[in-house]
Amino acid sequence: MKVTKVEAQASLDEIEDIAARTRRAIAGGSCSGMLILWGAIWLIGFAGTQFFPGQSGVLWLALDSAGFVASWVLATRRRDTIKSGNGGRIGLAWVALFVYAGIWVFILRPSSSNMRFFGAYPATVAMFGYVVMGIWLDRFLLYLGLGVTASTLVGMFLVPDWFNLWMALTGGGSLIAAGFHVRRNWN
């Protein structure tokens, strides 16, 4: 068997490409639906909070409840056609998420007296989840998590009066756009 340097490099590139596609296929089954679902929830929830602050508590309770039920349906409807076998790694990701959530709540100190921080906290914790997934699965999710976290912090400090609308458009919009990107490119 004769293999030149160019052919060897082409083979290694092919291997890397297939490995990346396989990792994306593991997550792609329900990832796009989740992104679009939670993007829509953020869009409605934050926009509603901006324009109807008095009803924001009920609105978020209804949206989050519907979101968790819909997420469960999405996760269970997915056909079990590919198993990563990375249960340990997924468990570690959850541990990292809880550790981050604990440290971040200490730094951000969200409270009902500071509605911007109160809104930013769950959004940035969710985005840390995307950062962790992105490290393993695909850089796209890593950049999405970092980008929306940065956008949230920018909105908190630069447009405090319009923070919720800012989150609806940048956070919700980014998640929806990312969901369609994943649907088109990962399957």
């Binding site: 068997m1 004769k2 293999v3 030149t4 340097k5 060897a8 490099q9 083979s11 290694l12 092919e14 291997i15 297939i18 490995a19 596609r21 396989t22 990792r23 296929a25 593991i26 056609t81 590919i82 198993k83 990563s84 076998g85 990375n86 249960g87």
Partner: protein, 101 residues
């Protein structure tokens, strides 16, 4: 010293092994999902899987789920080891700038 593997070096089989090794040792993938992922026809995929299974590089488990036949595939330890050797051999060719015969 790692050596190129004649069975794995064939382009379609290289892609199949790359996909299966990307899963952890406990991971598995459906025949149809793998075919879609690699853009291979059922016939082509089946023929290459048979070669890999005969070499002991993969394990195919046929079962029925909701009365529908499903074939689940995973790389064996031997297949993983041979694939890693093959990748190392490719890297050595690049680093050495030579041609392996």
């Amino acid at each position: 010293m790692p050596e190129l593997d004649n069975i794995i070096h064939q382009p379609a089989r290289l892609r199949i092994m790359a996909a299966l090794v990307a899963l952890s040792p406990e991971g598995e993938i459906d025949f149809s999902t793998l075919g879609r992922l690699l853009k291979l026809t059922d016939g082509n995929l089946g023929a290459h899987l048979m070669t890999l299974e005969e070499a002991g590089y993969i394990k195919a488990e046929k079962l029925f789920i909701n009365r529908k036949p499903r074939t689940k595939l995973r790389a064996t330890h031997r297949g993983r080891a041979r694939f890693q050797d093959h990748v190392e051999a490719l890297r050595e060719i690049i680093q050495g700038g030579g041609v392996e015969e």
